[in-house]
């Protein structure tokens, strides 16, 4: 029969492994609506070998103009979970720069989220940082999680 201390050690080990499994599950799903679930499970921060908390870096890619607003809202939501967020609007100009989009974009900036686009109109009109496809690729390599939204 397993001793109590061994049982406790085994349970601790299982609990310690859960964040990694959640992270992998997230990567497998990598779909819309998952970030909030995963972040709330507590993997938005990881500690390095010295115990220093490191914020996760998340890249949100938005390709479909119809998803631009929801992508922005999700990026903003992830910032609330103490993650570094980089939002990329690909190809198209912002389809509907209404008050709601502008407000949320302002919140993203205030919370130190970053927004990039390979469309120069977004850079000139709305203050996005320009990133070519090659630069986007480089930034994605540095991100912990990439979410094609």
């Amino acid at each position: 029969m397993m001793r109590t201390t061994e049982l406790v050690q085994k349970q601790i080990q299982i609990l310690a492994d859960i964040p990694n499994w959640l992270k992998k599950s997230f990567q497998m799903a990598c779909c819309r609506h998952m970030p909030a679930v995963t972040m709330s499970a507590g993997i938005s921060e990881t500690a390095n070998s010295k115990g220093v908390i490191i914020m996760s870096k998340v890249a949100v890619l938005i390709k479909n103009p119809e998803q631009q607003y929801e992508g922005l809202r999700s990026s903003l939501g992830m910032l609330l979970y103490n993650t570094e967020v980089q939002m990329f609007v690909l190809n198209d100009e912002i389809a509907d720069m209404d008050e709601a989009y502008e407000d949320n974009m302002g919140f993203l900036d205030e919370m130190e989220g970053e927004r990039f686009s390979n469309n120069k109109a977004n850079v000139e009109k709305y203050g996005f940082k320009y990133a070519s496809v090659e630069q986007i690729g480089e930034l994605l390599r540095k991100a912990d999680l990439v979410i094609p939204f």
Binding site: M28, I136, G137
Partner: protein, 57 residues
């Protein structure tokens, strides 16, 4: 860094270009879910054996 790219639909030119630019001479792998038979068990192994997984549109 080993990156696993999973394509749920056929990638357009932008996605193809981004995928190329993310692979910096590394051993990356692509899996197309939209064509042919999928070896799901191998896919799960691949997910766990790669450093990063990107599941595209």
């Amino acid at each position: 860094m080993k990156i696993l790219h999973i394509f749920r639909a056929e990638p357009d030119e932008t996605v193809k270009d981004i995928v190329v630019s993310t692979t910096n001479g590394d051993k990356s792998k692509t899996v197309e879910l939209y064509s042919g038979e999928i070896d799901w068990s191998r896919l799960v192994d691949d997910i766990f054996s790669h450093d990063k997984v990107i599941c595209w549109w």
